[in-house]
């Protein structure tokens, strides 16, 4: 008893500090100083050609100024065609990608899938995520030729990696007892998923799907740069011809659509709880 109270008395009146993350003080300072030195050297190694920047300012200025007078009309037909193609690619790729992601997401959730299924599904997710969209698009353009088919396949493939992974993680974080209660009724596996798992992950699945639709639209604008169709192709052409006012018009359209999608997904997510 007295031993405890003397220990307490020595502590009373002393200050308390949160224990540092790295206990060894020399190691801690070495890491801090090393990090600082590397940062300085790294920044110093990036070359900046200031005279080139000065010349480029004009071009940048022209580009920005063209936003004040976007030209929707002189290439209106091209913009419209590109836009329609982009929307088709986006919607088709999102729908197909989401439909394929759901079974793969179920398989990639460790708490509901047996180990072999889990490993196969995780492998699919890993491959899809490892390959960046542009790389996949270049490959698919090489196989299927220029046009929207390559863009559609690329975005479907990318959607699978994104949505399956996040859906699987949401399933792994679900409330086990709710699902257990459904299992205890003697439900078969499909019923168990439908009653015990689906209601728990549905709002997140809808939210993620809307977000992916949004991403797919923006990606479809980039994919045109490598020949995979959509409004990106129109944008690329406008840049090549130095038609900044047309390019500005295209960018404004993209921004408008992304904002509209953002608003739509907000409305939908507020309704699904």
């Amino acid at each position: 008893m007295s031993g405890v109270s003397t220990e307490l008395e020595t502590l009373l009146g002393t200050r308390w500090k949160k224990p540092p993350l790295i206990k060894l003080s020399w190691l801690r300072w070495l890491l801090i100083l090393g990090g600082a030195v590397y940062l300085v050297l790294a920044i110093a190694s990036v070359e900046v050609n200031w005279s080139r920047v000065y010349e480029g300012l004009d071009r940048g200025g022209a580009f920005i100024m063209s936003f004040t007078r976007p030209d929707f009309l002189s290439r209106g037909g091209d913009i419209w065609n590109g836009l329609v193609e982009s929307v088709v690619i986006t919607v088709a790729a999102s729908v197909v990608g989401i439909l394929i992601s759901i079974p793969i997401g179920l398989g990639a959730a460790r708490n509901i899938a047996p180990l072999p299924v889990y490993l196969v599904c995780r492998a699919i997710v890993a491959v899809s995520r490892a390959l960046q969209e542009i790389i996949v698009a270049i490959l698919l353009v090489a196989i299927f030729g220029f046009g929207p088919l390559a863009g559609f396949l690329t975005l479907s493939f990318a959607t699978i990696g994104f949505l399956s992974k996040l859906l699987a993680e949401d399933i792994e974080a679900m409330d086990r007892v709710q699902a257990e209660a459904i299992r205890a009724t003697g439900a078969r596996w499909t019923q168990w998923i439908n009653y015990g798992v689906q209601p728990q992950v549905m709002p997140r699945l809808i939210g993620l799907s809307m977000y992916r639709l949004d991403i797919n639209f923006r990606e479809s604008a980039i994919l045109g740069l490598v020949g995979a169709g959509g409004i990106g192709a129109t944008l690329n052409t406008a840049f090549d011809r130095y038609e900044f006012d047309t390019a500005a018009a295209i960018l404004l359209v993209i921004i408008g659509i992304v904002m509209a999608l953002e608003y739509l997904s907000g409305v939908i997510r507020a309704r699904v709880r």
């Binding site: 257990e180 209660a181 459904i182 205890a184 009724t185 439900a187 499909t190 019923q191 009653y195 209601p199």
Partner: protein, 262 residues
């Protein structure tokens, strides 16, 4: 009707939750299972319907050996065992009616359940049960809109619509206030009497258990430390189950206490 034969459960971590437990429950008997946290009460209940896979021993329900069943046969056997959970375990985003009807999943095909087209007699029975537990007006509410006591009533209706022979009840009152706890325990025991169901009820509240059940089993560190009528729960017995403490205030002392409650 229910017989546990040398039931053993060892978790992968090496914890021995159950050490050769032997229990026999006849038709229509309501048993309270008491014991300190970690004594293996939840594990025991879950080993019966194999939500937790036992590592040894046998479980018999009538003349079916549950521990030997394939997954399809196990699903059919689970229909005869209704389960009621601590924290209710309703699927919160489903309606009250869907939660109750989910008790029929073992009897209904996948497409019917997917489209929520349950047979009319199941729907009628669900309405009857909701009326019996006093929640008929709540049928279309979502489960997360209900209070704790209401949710547990839905949980009871879900278990009963399975038309079970046995109820497995895991801490039904742990998150409820004292009055609601008694109402829920009374409801469970009344329904068991009405339908001739056997029940195993895990419960922390010793006095509450004494009030309602016919038999008490005390579990300590995975072994049975007591098995007898509720009146035989003396301070010495409670000390054997839970360890040293002053038990006078916990247990019912004479018949008048029961009268006052009833």
């Amino acid at each position: 009707m229910l017989r546990l034969d040398k039931l053993v459960k060892t978790y992968r971590t090496g914890d021995q939750a159950l050490k050769s437990v032997e229990i026999e429950v006849p038709i229509g008997q309501v048993v309270a299972l008491i014991g300190p946290s970690g004594a293996g009460k939840s594990t025991l209940i879950r080993c019966i319907n194999r939500l937790v896979e036992p590592s040894g021993g046998k479980v018999w329900l009538d003349d079916v050996e549950l521990t030997a069943l394939s997954s399809g046969a196990l699903r059919r056997a689970r229909r005869r065992m209704g389960m009621i959970f601590q924290e209710y375990a309703l699927v919160e985003r489903l309606t009250v009616m869907e939660n109750v009807l989910s008790g029929r999943l073992g009897y209904v095909g996948f497409w019917r359940s997917l489209l929520r087209r349950f047979p009319q007699k199941d729907v009628d029975e669900a309405f009857r049960l909701l009326d019996r537990v006093g929640l008929l007006a709540m049928a279309d509410k979502r489960a997360d809109e209900l209070s704790g006591g209401q949710r547990q009533r839905v949980g009871i209706a879900r278990a009963l619509i399975q038309n079970p022979a046995l109820l497995l009840v895991d801490e039904p009152t742990a998150s409820l206030d004292p009055k609601t706890s008694r109402q829920i325990m009374r409801l469970i025991c009344e329904l068991c009497a009405e339908r001739g169901l056997a029940a195993i009820i895990n419960i922390h509240d010793v006095a509450l258990a004494q009030m309602f059940v016919q038999r008490v089993i005390g579990l300590k560190a995975g072994e049975i430390a007591f098995d007898g009528p509720p009146d035989a729960l003396t301070p010495e017995v409670l000390t054997r189950i839970y360890g040293e403490e002053d038990w006078q205030a916990t247990i019912k002392t004479d018949e008048t206490a029961e009268e006052a409650v009833a």
